[in-house]
């Protein structure tokens, strides 16, 4: 394989990492509070706002049920507004971020809802404010689950990032489509797939390890 091609693969890998990192960071930063809100704003919960909860839930569901490839195309005007362009790596970050937000929010919601209600009651009995309960109890107790949620989100993002290649988004997916498929270079396709597999493996193992370290629920010495 020519050095040029290797260079291309290296650059594509970096592009993918950049897209995943930025979309993952912004998406989870926005998704986290939305997830917390979804988990705590039902009737009789810490910040009761059942109507807003329902509306936010509806928007989250709508975004999640839109196929990613359609989302990419549908928000092109918005992407252009934010980045000034609708093609390339920079442009791809916008739909990736938009897709990450509801995905991560639902995982955060599930992680928080999973926490024993007795802990919330105990904290209330201590005189904790709802905000204190969120930070000192819910987020602290959900840390292992949140770590796994973030891991799952990044893994999905890697998959999505390959899809934006189809609309000129750059990165490994783009490389695979243009060289591997359109120019029929199976070796490039193979390398692209292998790099993606390695990326996912590394992220998953790191996430699992971190979650295990955070998890104090099982007896170990």
């Amino acid at each position: 394989m020519s050095p040029d091609l290797l260079l291309l693969i290296g650059k594509a890998t970096l592009d993918t990492l950049r897209m995943v990192a930025i979309a993952g960071l912004i998406g989870s930063l926005i998704g986290l509070p939305i997830g917390i809100f979804l988990a705590t704003s039902g009737k009789g919960e810490l910040f009761p706002a059942p109507n807003i909860n329902r509306i936010v839930g509806l928007i989250v569901n709508a975004t999640r049920s839109t196929p990613f490839i359609i989302l990419v195309v549908a928000i092109i005007p918005f992407t252009r507004l934010v980045t000034g362009t609708s093609i390339g790596t920079k442009a791809a970050i916008v739909p990736l971020t938009i897709a990450t937000i509801p995905f991560f929010a639902r995982l955060v919601e599930a992680a928080i809802r999973d926490i024993d209600k007795g802990l919330i009651e105990a904290a209330r009995a201590m005189g904790a404010t709802p905000t204190q309960i969120v930070f000192k109890v819910l987020l602290a107790e959900a840390r292992p689950a949140l770590t796994l949620a973030l891991t799952m989100t990044i893994v999905s993002l890697i998959g999505y990032s390959a899809m934006v290649g189809a609309v000129g988004g750059g990165g490994l997916g783009d490389l695979g489509i243009r060289y591997g498929y359109q120019r029929f270079m199976p070796d490039v396709m193979l390398i692209v797939v292998v790099v993606l597999i390695v990326l996912v493996q590394v992220v998953q193992s790191a996430g699992d390890g971190l979650a295990r370290r955070f998890d104090k629920r099982s007896r170990k010495n």
């Binding site: 209330r124 009995a125 201590m126 109890v137 104090k216």
Partner: protein, 359 residues
């Protein structure tokens, strides 16, 4: 407000329930129901007061009214003279910082160490790190877990977890401790040690303890006062000793019948008949307490009855620090023997109950 004479007056009480009712509206599958119906009760300052009832009797709701985790539908709950229902959220948080609570399933944070769990209420109250450290250490000593301060709850036994729960509840130096079935998830031996700890805290810190339980053993072991709750109503209350020795309500009797020594052996219970025929023996329960508990009653009984007396079941125990005995005996049911026995019981001030007759 009027209370029976055995109750502390409202001024003396740490907690007063005044005509409290709690109704839950219908939601989803469950219909509307009344958890508490016009409950009035005063919890004496410095006492260990037990509220006993079967599951679903309303005791969980009752204890949660004290720190405002539940709100009464009508009536008032006063804690140290303050109407809990009249407090806003900030006032309620202040109240909760002066009322400790422990739970059946401990409710410890798995992500925090022993130290961190006890420190939590102090962090919530906005105390600085050094003051927290100074407060937590002696508490861990008090509950005997100083050496485990860096462990996580998952590494501890149930009894140790409850000790942390107790240390945590005491962290803000409350005057009142609420115990929600705190020993129900523990084995009998651990239960005893936790109850001993509660007793010690009550005596040493002068803390009022209000506990709910479904176990008469718990009530017997630690409480000075007890209220029996059934279907959302207080059916009986008083000093624990009086309620145990003279139970009036059917629910109380049913709860008491589970205690060891109160139960007849199955073989006897099966053969019991309501009326005597010739040659039968009478089965009689004698209850004795105070001074009578210390006299050689049995030998005197055998002498005065002048016939054989069998002991079928019996227990000698202490309730609220007073000796108490319950003895089931059998003797010939003929008129002469019975007459002598009854005379003996009256002379000695024994409380008796004829349970039936056996062949």
């Amino acid at each position: 407000m009027t209370f029976p004479s055995s109750e502390p007056s409202a001024g003396d009480a740490a907690v007063v329930f005044d005509g409290v009712s709690k109704r839950f509206a219908a939601s989803g599958k469950s219909g509307a129901f009344t958890a508490l119906n016009n409950v009035s009760l005063a919890v004496g300052r410095g006492s260990i007061t037990g509220i006993i009832g079967r599951s679903g009797a309303g005791k969980s709701t009752l204890i949660r009214l004290v720190n405002g985790l539940e709100k009464p539908s009508s009536g008032k709950v006063l804690v140290d003279g303050v109407d809990v229902g009249g407090l806003d959220e900030a006032g309620l948080r202040n109240l909760r910082r002066s009322v400790g609570m422990i739970f059946q399933h401990f409710n410890l944070l798995s992500s925090r160490t022993v130290f961190g769990n006890v420190a939590l209420p102090l962090e919530i109250a906005g105390m600085d790190r050094r003051a927290i450290e100074a407060r937590v250490r002696p508490l861990l000593d008090l509950v005997g877990l100083a050496d485990k301060h860096a462990r996580y709850p998952a590494e501890l036994s149930g009894g140790q977890k409850q000790r942390i729960g107790i240390a945590r509840a005491l962290a803000t130096e409350p005057k009142l401790l609420l115990s929600d079935e705190a020993t129900s998830a523990l084995d009998p031996e651990t239960t005893q040690s936790i109850l001993e700890l509660l007793k010690r805290i009550n005596a040493e810190l002068g803390l009022t303890v209000l506990l709910i339980t479904h176990e008469m053993e718990v009530v017997k072991a630690v409480t000075s006062d007890v209220a029996v709750i059934d279907k959302g109503e207080i059916v009986e209350r008083g000093h624990t000793f009086d309620v145990f020795t003279h139970p009036k309500h059917e629910t109380t009797r049913a709860l008491l019948s589970g205690l060891p020594g109160s139960k007849l052996p199955d073989a006897v219970a099966r053969g019991l008949k309501p009326a005597a025929s010739a040659g039968d023996r009478a089965v009689v329960r004698l209850t004795f307490f105070g001074a009578t508990a210390e006299r050689p009653l049995i030998s005197q009984l055998i002498k005065s009855v002048g016939a054989e007396v069998n002991i079928i079941a019996g227990t000698i125990d202490e309730i609220g620090g007073k000796p108490y005995g319950s003895l089931v005996v059998a003797y010939a049911a003929d008129a002469e023997t019975s007459g002598r026995a009854e005379r003996f019981f009256t002379e000695n001030g024994l409380v008796t109950e004829v349970l039936g007759y056996v062949a």
